[in-house]
Amino acid sequence: MDRRQFIQLGALAGGTLVASHALAQGQSHAVPSAPVSARARTPSIVAPGGQVAVTTPNGSTLPWRKVGGVKVGHLVAMPVKHTFAPGLEVEAWGYNGSTPGPTIEAVEGDRLRIYVTNRLPEPTTVHWHGLIIPNGMDGVSGLNQRPIAPGETFAYEFTLNQPGTYMYHPHYDEMTQMALGMMGMFIVHPKRPRGPRVVRDFALMTHEWKVLPGMRRPDPNAMSDFNVLTFNSKAFPATEPLVIGRGERVRIRLGNLSAMDHHPIHLHGLSFEMTGTDGGFVPESARYPETSILVPVGSTRVIEFVADEPGDWAMHCHMTHHVMNQMGHAAPVTLGADARAIDRRVQALVPGYMTMGQDGMGGMEEMGMPMPANSIPMKGGKGPFGPIDMGGMFTLLKVRENPDTEDGSGWYVHPKGTVADKADPVRMDADGINPDVRFG
């Protein structure tokens, strides 16, 4: 990273960042000028002190137009056809053609004028979550402003006085509008950088949805049984990996606008410290190492780390149901049951029936059973050693020696002898290991 990469302040190159849309089917053409790059190019410098632009995996950044010293942006609240992962497309709501909406990125001290056009069938507002701005700009319908009627465009204008990691979302019919995907990250870089400079800066918004297999509309009435869990509205295997360089200092900004669930996000292969929340920066004296961080509903958490171990590392919510795609939880458990005894009876009446899950549910996707239309239950990803039987709020941290040559699709090549494998019986014997040992 050098000075040449510095781009003049206030001219953030919106959308020129890592925004591989290869997996983001359904994201509409309406995404404003988002050139697609397959390469994990080193982010550009967008703020003083060499602060790099925020990368929004599977997403984009809101572009600015500078008008008389004011950064002018435009958010259009609108229905969006959205694909969580190939095979599951829904009628969602979002901004500028996507959910989450584009990441708003600016610098402390900027004067912003953000126009909000409502193309939803009902009124809306935008609340700038965590920002301290004039009360009339806070976006709570009825309290701070009248709602933006369908077809209307409102202007929000304020100066950014505190740096940090924030979010934006509607404050009108919150339950419906957020359940359908209306949200985005709002990042304010400090005028003077805090702490060591990071090389990569990611924004991930966690969310949860209820879309029963065969449905095409996220259920805004759901209070439990959320079955689609997402990072930036994508479920694994459609989540775009985070490609970083070994030894690079990396920041990940996590925001949670889920309806009901906090998400303990767990990273493998490294430990990190929490450096910020939507309330501000965490003083160094208050930081401690962690490998999981709980991101509460309606909060942001910022973590920073340096990964020294190269490889493909899992990053996921640690709630085990949150790394499943559209699993149902109401059917009786078949684990340990005699499937043949059941099959014999049921298949006579329902040809094609097959008892599943009697040995557990791993690898179930491989069975290739016919599924309801528009659904991705049991869908997982493919890994170098076989299927990865997880979905949902799961992504990969790809730590590489040469991240700039990676497009994120390749797998880490392990040095010989560094992958766990079947044990050598001779070695076992020599080590005094008896696989037939009995207990109790």
């Binding site: 559209q326 005699d338 059973m369 016919p370 599924m371």
Partner: protein, 486 residues
């Protein structure tokens, strides 16, 4: 089975009814052959399409070769037509009806016979004197009876016409009831199969619950719930078995079968609903024209008319009888004739005439009432045929596929682990349930269709067009929709 001693009865000669009786003179036999042919002819045009009229022969009715024919028919799985054929060959009530017609035929024959002359012989011997034995011979003949003979025969003729219509109607009625009985057996067979399938579904649920309980995955509650479903299903099977048994016995009565002969089989399901319904134009007129019920009433009206005419003639015709008389007095015959004339002063058959007139008026009113009822029944039957046909097709083409789709989608949801095996089985049970509704609706359709055919063939009495129950069919069950019209 031994028929009643057919060998004791001589085969009746051919020829017209009355003539044969007269020709044969004293040799009296039952008029079965002619009666059968007569009924056959009466039915001819009215007989429903494909109907086996051949069963209605005197030979068959008297049991000759009937046994072999019945045996041959029973060797194959029954169809509605073969069942009707067997009933016509073997049903004793039908034979009784044919012999009842013989009673009317006998009356007619009797009424066609002229009165016999009376011959009187008288011998006299004076107690005194030497006079020889004297002899009288007289011949007496009831002239008024001879004059009234054609009219009396007319009455008997009309009565026999009525009786023939009644008998022909009973043939139709037997065929109709046999068809209904056969459809009922088919439906009960299918329902038993479906109840067995439902039991299988319940048993699969219970078996699954037991397996899952062994693995510790369900509570005793689920096992008990599934088991209670099995026990209910078992009860339903037992009911269906009973219903099948009942329907077979009802048909056995109509077929005149007992003993080992009741082991007949049926291997076809109820036929799909018939589409080719007549336009309905002129159906009422056709039913009125064909009606044997009305023909019977017409015959009885005519008999009453003729009884009235006879009584009038009798009332005004003085009683006449005439005779010849010969007396041998000594050596010469004295010949003479006489005529007796009764004076119709008091008894002019007023009462008989009054009774005949009343009887006629009564029959006329009944005729009109019957005609009205026939028209209503025809419209009802036609409506029923259409409605049940539409409903049956709806079940077959819409409801059943819809339930099958529910099953398919449930399997997909099951594959997606959204629902469990019990939901899959419930969806399958709903398919079976719809099939059950189809069978009952189809049975109603065939019953209505038979009723319509019966009306057009000319029989209105004993029509079974019960009331349709408007069921409150739930989403998953609908078997009750048609278990009514019985």
């Amino acid at each position: 089975m031994k028929t009643w001693s057919s060998s004791r009865w001589k085969r009746p000669a051919a020829g017209t009814l009355v003539a044969s009786m007269l020709t044969l003179g004293g040799c009296v036999t039952v008029p079965l052959a002619n009666d059968a042919r007569d009924v056959h002819t009466t039915l001819g045009a009215r007989w429903m399409p494909g109907g086996p009229v051949v069963g209605l022969t005197s030979e068959a009715l008297r049991g000759e070769d009937a046994d072999a024919a019945v045996r041959a028919l029973l060797a194959q799985p029954l169809t509605a037509d073969t069942a009707v054929r067997i009933a016509l060959l073997n049903n004793r009530d039908l034979r009784a009806a044919m012999h009842e017609l013989g009673v009317a035929t006998g009356n007619l024959v009797q009424m066609s016979l002229p009165p016999n002359p009376e011959v009187e012989l008288e011998m006299r011997k004076p107690t005194r004197g030497g006079q020889p034995l004297q002899g009288d011979i007289g011949l007496e003949y009831d002239l008024s009876e001879l004059i009234l003979l054609p009219q009396r025969r007319g009455v008997a003729q009309a009565e026999r016409t009525a009786a023939r219509a009644l008998t022909a109607g009973e043939v139709l009625h037997l065929a109709y009831r046999t068809r209904l009985g056969f459809y009922e057996v088919q439906a009960r067979h299918q329902q038993l199969e479906l109840r067995n399938r439902a039991l299988q579904v319940a048993q699969a649920g219970y078996g699954t619950a037991v397996e899952l309980e062994k693995a510790g995955n369900v509570r005793a509650l689920e096992v008990a719930t599934e088991r209670s479903a099995v026990e209910s299903a078992r009860l339903a099977v037992a009911e269906a078995e009973n219903a099948l048994l009942d329907s077979r016995e009802a048909l056995n009565v109509l077929l005149g079968l007992f003993g080992p002969r009741t082991q007949w089989t049926v291997d076809s399901p109820l036929a799909d609903p018939v589409n080719d319904l007549d336009s309905g134009e002129g159906l009422e007129a056709r039913a009125i024209e064909a009606s044997l019920d009305l023909a019977e009433l017409r015959g009885r009206m005519e008999a009453a008319d003729r009884r009235h005419g006879l009584a009038r003639t009798e009332g005004f015709l003085p009683h006449l009888s005439g005779g010849f008389h010969g007396e041998k007095d000594e050596d010469r015959w004295e010949m003479g004739a006489h005529l007796t004339v009764g004076l119709p002063l008091f008894d002019r058959k007023q009462g008989v005439r009054m009774a005949a007139l009343s009887s006629r008026e009564s029959l006329k009113a009944r005729y009109e009432a019957t005609a009205t009822a026939i028209r209503a029944s025809l419209r009802q039957a036609r409506g029923r045929v259409e409605s049940t046909g539409r409903r049956a097709r709806h079940v077959r083409d819409v409801l059943l596929p819809a339930r099958r789709q529910v099953l398919d989608e449930t399997v997909l949801q099951y594959n997606a682990m959204q629902v469990g095996v019990f939901e899959v089985l419930r969806a399958q049970a709903a398919v079976t349930d719809a099939a059950s509704t189809y069978v009952e609706t189809l049975l109603d359709h065939h019953r209505a269709r038979s009723a319509l055919e019966q009306l057009l063939a000319g029989r209105h009495q004993g029509l079974e067009l019960g009331s349709i129950r408007v069921s409150s069919m739930s989403a998953s069950s609908g078997a009750a929709a048609a278990a009514d019209a019985h």
